[in-house]
């Protein structure tokens, strides 16, 4: 391999330091001895448990709905696809607080659909269900984009061969296409879970911050940052650890050759 220019290496070191310093900052403020106690406090445990539950549910929602949506987008052509993709992927770059507002005006008590839901006896806003909706809304694009990109890279030949061998459409999907894009679906799942776990703005706007109901770990950290900074740091370190595990897990299948 050719040697890199020195100035580039210098800039890379600055960038790496920029990425690592905040993590060190967190670690420097942690009271390691008190860490177990802080993490097992009722409010921390409640928040973590709620985060895991809601993130898992919203990831499942992303799988069940986002994978079919990815297939549908991949099946479209031309301008229709470009426009639809831009709209569907907007939550990726939208400020989460805007997403939260949108959710509120769609599913909230006075929202487009909220009225109907309310009349049917299913209040959504400011419930745990709202947390799941907020997370799924911001995380779904990761699944859609992963699936769509993986499908675009396939030429449909194996599917065509499977059809000549007598396979029905559902069997082709289940036995040929889905295993073929398995790596992408796994990647989408991991990214969606990570995004759900870290969700803050949309959750606060749409679901509020009610302990045990809607106060997930990021909300708990935000709340505790002034009253009990060390507890906030402890919870933050748990999320850092989870993030590193998730990123490592996502990188591994990425190294395999995608056929």
């Amino acid at each position: 391999m050719t040697k890199l220019p020195r100035w580039l290496v210098a800039l890379a070191i600055v960038a790496a330091a920029f990425a690592i310093l905040p993590l060190l900052g967190l670690a420097s403020r942690a009271n390691w001895a008190a860490l177990p106690g802080q993490l097992t406090s009722p409010s921390a445990r409640t928040a973590l448990w709620l985060s895991l539950r809601t993130a898992t549910t919203s990831t499942a929602l992303c799988l069940v709905l986002g994978v079919p949506l990815g297939f549908a987008v991949a099946a479209l052509r031309g301008v229709t696809r470009a426009v639809l993709r831009a709209i569907l992927l907007a939550p990726l770059v939208l400020p989460p607080v805007v997403s939260g507002l949108g959710l509120l005006y769609a599913f909230g008590r006075r929202g487009l659909l909220g009225h109907t839901l309310d009349a049917a006896g299913i209040p959504v806003a400011f419930t745990t269900a709202a947390v799941v909706l907020a997370q799924a809304f911001v995380a779904m694009p990761f699944m859609v984009i992963s699936v769509e990109a993986a499908l675009a890279a396939r030429d449909g030949r194996l599917e065509a061969i499977a059809a000549t061998l007598g396979a029905s459409r559902s069997r082709i999907l289940g036995a040929v296409t889905l295993p073929g894009i398995g790596v992408a679906v796994a990647m989408g799942t991991v990214l969606a879970f990570a995004r759900s776990l870290g969700e803050f703005g949309a959750t606060l706007t749409f679901a509020g911050s009610l302990e045990g109901v809607t106060r997930t770990a990021p909300l708990q950290i935000y709340l505790a940052r002034e009253s009990d900074p060390q507890a906030a740091v402890a919870l933050g370190l748990v999320l850092v650890a989870l993030a590193i595990v998730i990123v490592a897990a996502a990188a591994r299948p990425g190294r395999r050759v995608v056929q």
Partner: protein, 346 residues
């Protein structure tokens, strides 16, 4: 099942008509780019034809319906395609690849694996059962693809260039397998090699730029090719002219001595020659055909192909060194034995 097909794919300049009697093998013979793969994929349903019609036994593969094409879904065509890249499912073991067709038709996992074992045994690759496609050699992958095709119990088997990019040993092994399993089945096999047609097919359709220029029993077609193109595909020296009392009158006025029992005077006729029977000789030789060197092609087997405008010959390197032919030089050909001429008109 009998196959009758006219395949039109305008975008690729293909308009080819084929007939395969039930239980026989047709070789679709043509050079790269002649449209073989397009014809095969249109029959399989991988490429949509925009004109023509095809029937396999009593089922229609595609047909006209006014201006629209009526395409039968690939799964209802009851045929199997073996592509050049084998197209094995990468996430399934060899066994499960071969079990796929029976699974797709509703057999249980155990049942379909039993069927797959039978076909792997019949094709001589049972030891590969647990392997993944990516760990197979080209020849192994193609053999497994053949086993998978057979396991689908197709009414028609389509083999697209079965020997392309295989090393010699793998090609020999696959060839002997095909010789064993193809008889009795209806097969279309595409190839650019006339030997494959002689070896495996009872009839041949010669494809030139998307059209079938010759279609008939393999032996007769190669003995009496009706076009220079077919003769070239069969590796024969071919020359046409007008029959004129024991000679073939060539376009430039020269005469080639030939036997032509039953040929009427003035009919269009041709001779097809084994290249080994054509020799280069000095200009004064009687009955030599005078020609001009058009190209010189070194062959892999240590001979030089000296191609004139009328005839060509393969000469040994030693002979080439003695004669030192150059492009544009005059050259003189003789033919060892008196060739047999045949009529080109029906």
């Amino acid at each position: 099942m009998r196959l009758d097909a006219t395949v039109g794919v305008a975008a690729r300049g293909v308009n080819a008509t084929l007939h395969v009697p039930a239980g026989q093998t047709l070789a679709l013979l043509g050079p790269n780019g002649s449209g073989k793969t397009t014809v095969i994929e249109a029959l399989a349903g991988l490429t949509a034809p925009d004109s023509g019609h095809a029937t396999l036994g009593d089922i229609s593969l595609f047909s006209h319906d006014g201006d629209r094409m009526r395409l039968t879904e690939p799964r209802a065509r009851a045929l199997a395609l073996v592509t050049q890249d084998a197209s094995l499912f990468p996430h399934l073991s060899v066994l499960d690849n071969v079990a796929f067709p029976s699974r797709a038709r509703g057999a249980s996992k155990t049942q379909s694996r039993a069927v797959a074992h039978t076909w792997l045994a019949r094709t001589g690759v049972e030891e590969l059962a647990a392997r993944r496609p990516r760990s197979l050699s080209g020849g192994q992958a193609r053999t497994v693809a053949v086993a998978r095709a057979l396991a689908s119990e197709p009414r028609l088997i389509l083999l697209d260039e079965p020997f392309a990019s295989l090393d010699v040993d793998a090609a020999v092994a696959l060839r002997s397998l095909l010789r064993e399993v193809l008889p009795g089945r209806t097969v279309v096999l595409s190839t650019h090699d006339g030997l494959d047609a002689i070896d495996l097919a009872s009839s041949v359709a010669v494809l030139d730029q998307g059209s079938v220029v010759e279609h008939g029993p393999t032996a007769a077609t190669f003995e009496r090719p009706r076009t220079a193109f077919t003769a070239a595909m069969a590796g024969l020296v071919w020359i046409s002219g007008t029959w004129d009392e024991d000679t073939l009158a060539l376009a430039d006025g020269q005469h080639l001595e030939a036997s032509g029992s039953g040929l009427e005077a003035r009919v269009r006729a041709a001779v097809a020659l084994d290249p080994r029977s054509v020799k280069l000789v000095p200009p004064e030789t009687s009955s030599a055909i005078h020609d001009t060197v058009r190209t010189l092609e070194p062959r892999g087997d240590g001979t030089l192909r000296v191609r004139g405008f009328l005839l060509w010959a393969d000469v040994s390197i030693a002979e080439a060194a003695r004669l030192l032919p150059q492009v544009g030089d005059p050259v003189n050909f003789v033919i060892d034995a008196r060739p047999r001429a045949f009529a080109l008109e029906n």
